[in-house]
Symmetry: C2
Subunit: 360 residues, 2 copies
């Protein structure tokens, strides 16, 4: 229902909204020039045109020139659909993410796009955070005959795994690293990262460290982070207190609310580790509203570091993940597999960094 509820009875400022204008679009399906048209004009066969496009060196220079001018004359654009059918291989890579809206993923997408360059195109879809959604997108992409697949989750439906394997399409899973990828994997260990941050906080002398993450259900990353937190506490002989382990819905506001709730309910907390989305940023802002001094009253640590976090007041101690690099490497692995006969199953751990700042 686009634009009905959202804009109903609104007070948006606009001018002459929805004007249907005078112009008209070209309806005469011109069915652009084909290779054979170019060939005819240049006085050669279609095959020669094909060669001229693909490998100009093997074509007579004179012929080549005639072909090129014919191409310009009719404004010929190769039909990549026909090429793909003939070659039985497309030049399209498919990437599926939980959500496109989440700014966490845009760096990875850009890393992929930058690496693909001009020879490949990127098909993109979101799973809506559901395995069924992912399966549907995978099916659609395999139907499109993508030459490679990039998945964010490492958790998939059995049918999804089977389809990918049967299609024999190169596939890179990004995000949380696992032991048994479908094909290849690039990412970092959410477990290790949360473990390291928890140890960092312990090392800084905090005695009672709360933990807030996104809901664990159907979220392997959040689950692994909580596990890392718990194990780090245990390693250092700290009690694991379930009453200071919370979940929060995504969003700045929700993170702030969860944080305030936790701090108010447990006066002995001296640090809170919020991981996922913008939860930690919300906590810093909420602390400001409450008048709590960070880190003196309570310390805050976050994850998914970005420019905002290093400019907040106070600046936020956080885990930095190499999201752009993950995109680059994932795409690179795909291209290597496609363009060479590389066949190794690769698991690439790009690690993480603890960014020590003012908040903890």
């Amino acid at each position: 229902m686009p634009g009905s509820a959202q804009n109903g009875g609104d007070n948006w400022r606009r001018k002459g909204a929805g004007s249907k204008g005078a112009g008209s679009a070209p309806r005469n399906q011109p069915r652009g020039a084909r290779m054979s048209d170019v060939a005819k004009i240049a006085g050669v066969s279609a095959m020669t045109v094909s060669r001229a496009l693909r490998d100009p060196k093997i074509v007579n220079l004179e012929t080549l020139k005639r072909i090129q001018s014919a191409i310009e004359k009719v404004g010929y654009l190769p039909n990549r659909i026909a090429t793909s059918l003939s070659l039985r291989r497309s030049n399209v890579v498919g990437q599926i993410l939980p959500s496109l809206r989440d700014s966490l993923f845009v760096d990875t997408i850009q890393g992929v796009a930058d690496t693909l360059g001009n020879s490949y195109n990127l098909l993109i879809a979101d799973s809506g955070y559901s395995l069924e959604g992912e399966e549907a997108a995978i099916e659609a992409f395999l139907s499109q005959k993508v030459c490679g697949l990039l998945l964010h989750n490492t958790d998939h439906t059995p049918r999804a795994r089977r389809m990918i394997k049967e299609a024999g399409v190169p596939c890179v899973e990004t995000g949380n690293l696992i032991k048994q990828p479908i094909d290849m994997a690039v990412g970092f260990s959410n477990y290790e990262a949360a473990f390291a941050m928890t140890e960092y906080l312990i090392g800084k002398g905090y005695r009672r460290i709360g933990f807030i993450s996104l809901p664990i259900k159907d979220n392997e990353r959040a689950a692994k982070r909580r596990e890392g937190y718990v194990r780090a506490l245990q390693k250092h002989g700290r009690a694991v207190d379930k009453s200071i382990i919370m979940e929060s819905q995504p969003g700045l506001r929700n993170g702030g609310l969860a944080f305030a709730h936790l701090v108010k309910s447990r006066k002995d907390l001296d640090a809170v580790f919020l991981t996922g989305d913008v939860l930690a940023v919300g906590a810093v802002l909420e602390a400001g509203r409450q008048g709590w001094r960070i880190p003196k009253d309570v310390a805050i640590a976050g994850s998914d570091d970005n420019e905002l976090q290093e400019n907040l007041l106070p600046t936020l101690t956080s885990i930095r993940f190499p999201r752009y690099e993950i995109g680059r490497h994932a795409a690179r692995l795909l291209l290597d597999r496609i363009e060479t006969d590389a066949t190794d199953s690769v698991i690439m751990d790009l690690g993480f960094k603890i960014m020590e700042r003012q908040s903890a």
Copy 2:
């Protein structure tokens, strides 16, 4: 050069990075089942299978069942490349944005993806903020035979415009509204928005209002906003002082620096309007560092409202643009054009909202 410089001599925490594992990928190009294979198993012709998939009702129920079980048996997946070639029309929509990394655009992408649904796929590319980059992406997409095109700019190379028109592909330009779209346009007026915000500030009693935008060169949106600011001042009989009109590179930090520079150089400023990217957020954070009271010492107004801006301290007065809605409407227009014989040239103004908050 992926991963060399960026990770060279680093101190990222990882485990056994770059392990080349034991596994191996399926190399035996299985060339999945074709429609004729399904047909053979079901004891019918390929045409009947085609009909069964496209319009099950017109096929005998018994036959249909045999076909369906044959499909499951061989794990048949339709080849959309072949369909597209045969139909001379793909089910892929192409969207081109200045950058994928910029979180400003993700809402629009999501709006598009949500509207396309399961029947269409989304090809995406970035122009790298250059007209040449956009032209290259348009050419690639037209070669892929996209059934519709979504452009962010309203400024294009002549060749790009010509190619789109000659291909006869439905096209929606989003972003700044213009009078002469290639085909259709959805967006808002940057001029009107900046004009309205400037009038708002004047109405609040601010006497001397500075202006900071992204660099105007090759940025029609920024140019229109500055024009709106200037005209609003003129309408209200205010002097236009070039020394308090600045440009800033994108980024939180840069916005903060530009803001601090402006405030320090002109002690009589009582408000600054920062438009574009996260400039205004950077200004609020910088004010915090400097110890300036907002809006008492100086007021701040921004644009591109989001959840962060309404949770900053102080909350930020800002212009809200309906980015998600733009995506939805743009995609809807495209689908209408594709699926019906609609031919109207539409210019749709979705407006904007001034969000009045604490900072101005």
